[in-house]
């Protein structure tokens, strides 16, 4: 994405997500934090973008900035939206932290035509190496909380995610691996290489 049109403060991976979203669409951003993405989508792409966020302090900050964000829980609140309410439902860096990732994904593709999902890749070589060498849960920049206090209760790898999409019948329209900062990694051709070298996976899905 062009540096000129991207607000300085927005995470690079959010910019990648924004580039997958058609202008003027209806978007729900789950786990939207302070609402940087929905603010960008409204201002730059004229989207009707809304947010759902668990953390009340983040919700308060987002609404204070005039963004339509409601406090809620992906695990329990997605069921309340009607079928096809959105063109895109976004879940960035949150899938690994929800109670029931598979059900959340199902709900996303019920209430939205597309789902955009990003998650930290547990198959990255550094994690694999640490586990192999130390025999202890890996600790990296992305996975930096001890196993007993991490909110990331459902880690998965890029290949795991492909497998779930296949099982549940989701078409992967676009996917890429990215490094920690969200810069696109050159591993798009090979799932295995992406799974080894990509720090996060980003997927654009729709129902097959």
């Amino acid at each position: 994405m062009d540096q000129l049109t991207r607000p300085r403060s927005m995470r690079v991976d959010l910019a990648l997500i924004a580039s997958m979203i058609a202008p003027g669409s209806r978007v729900l951003d789950i786990g939207c934090s302070d609402g940087a993405l929905i603010d960008y989508l409204f201002r730059m792409q004229k989207c009707d973008a809304r947010g759902l966020e668990l953390d009340m302090a983040a919700v308060t900050q987002a609404v204070t900035h005039g963004l339509p964000v409601m406090q809620g829980d992906a695990d329990t609140d997605l069921v309340t939206y009607p079928d096809g309410a959105f063109d895109y439902v976004v879940l960035s860096r949150t899938l690994q932290a929800v109670e029931k990732p598979r059900e959340v994904l199902q709900q996303m593709l019920r209430i939205g035509t597309h789902a955009i999902v990003s998650f930290p890749n547990f198959g990255h070589w550094r994690l694999r190496l640490q586990l192999l060498m130390n025999g202890r849960m890996p600790m990296t920049k992305t996975w930096h909380r001890m196993w007993f206090e991490t909110p990331n209760i459902h880690p998965c790898t890029i290949r795991d995610f492909f497998a779930l999409c296949e099982t549940d019948g989701y078409r992967v329209e676009e996917w890429l691996a990215a490094d920690d900062e969200g810069a696109r990694a050159p591993w798009r051709r090979s799932r295995s290489l992406a799974n080894l070298f990509g720090e996060q996976g980003l997927f654009l899905l729709r129902k097959a």
Partner: protein, 379 residues
Amino acid sequence: MDQSPNFAETDHQAVTFADGLALDCGRRLEKLTVAYRTYGTLNAARSNAVLICHALTGDQYVAEENPVTGKPGWWDRVVGPAKPVDTERFFVICTNVLGGCMGTTGPRSPHDETPALPWGTDFPAVTINDMVRAQKILIDHLGIERLFAVVGGSMGGMQVLAWAAMYPGSVFAAVPIAAAAYHSAQNIAFHEIGRQAIAADPFFYAGRYWSEGVKPERGLAVARMTAHITYVSEAALTRKFGRKLQDAAELSSLGDRFEVESYLQYQGSSFVRRFDANSYLTITRAMDLFDLAAGHNGVLAKAFSGTRTRFLLVSFSSDWLFPTAQTRAIARALNQVAANVSFVEIISDKGHDAFLLDEPDFHRVLAGFLSGCAEHAGL
């Protein structure tokens, strides 16, 4: 005192509509007077109007000294120049609700059939929807087709919800605060204690106390004292009073009191000076009758089908009269129709009354929401 009825003693800015108002109960008011106050300036496009809806015992004096009590406006923290509802930017309207005692038609107004006497307990049962219809008549009279926002807390929040359901095209943004889509059994129960206290007062005279030149002050004060407990939280009472005694080292005689008792008695006695008992009966009943889903086959979402209004729902963590769960139920109903909803629970130990008090997070959220909406509305 002689037989002269106790019509409202203070003159209020008001407009009278000769067409009257058809009520939900099937009866009709032949004449409708709506008392109101405005702040700020209506723009040329008539697109910057904000209607503030007051709570059970509030009134139209939202942001100026109250002519009856001499106290500051009940929401002067929220409404005024450079306040969250900025009167330099918005044209703010606040009406006294139907059934009230501050100038709008209510039990103290002249009876339709015997105008020399007040309605008293003959005043028809009114609903929250009736209150909103009366406000709509005023808004039409002011030449405003669409309100930029309707904002209110508690019973005011019920009116906001009713506005959004009844006149969706006339409400760009709706802000129900510390409210619910129906009055709970517990809340009805507390209201009933208040009503029974009024009815048991020997000066009530079956609602014709005005003809005896008295007021059921004891009963109304007890009603207010009970209600006041429901407006605060245990934490707030503990913080303010704890078990402190009033002017005594120990409770040695029957006359000695805890501070919280003396505080409640003050709340009761200051209330009876400004409020009419029959109005209290009428308005508490209107709240009890409120159940927005009931008119939509019990499905709250249907009340908002197709809505394009932008909503901000606010609850307070220690509010046990209108708990967060009730607000969340509204949020979920609005989700069902894919409405544009912001929903924040403000962390506060001040209970239901928090919406009237100094809560900076709430004020920031409200200001931010209205600014965001103004951008979307092209204001």
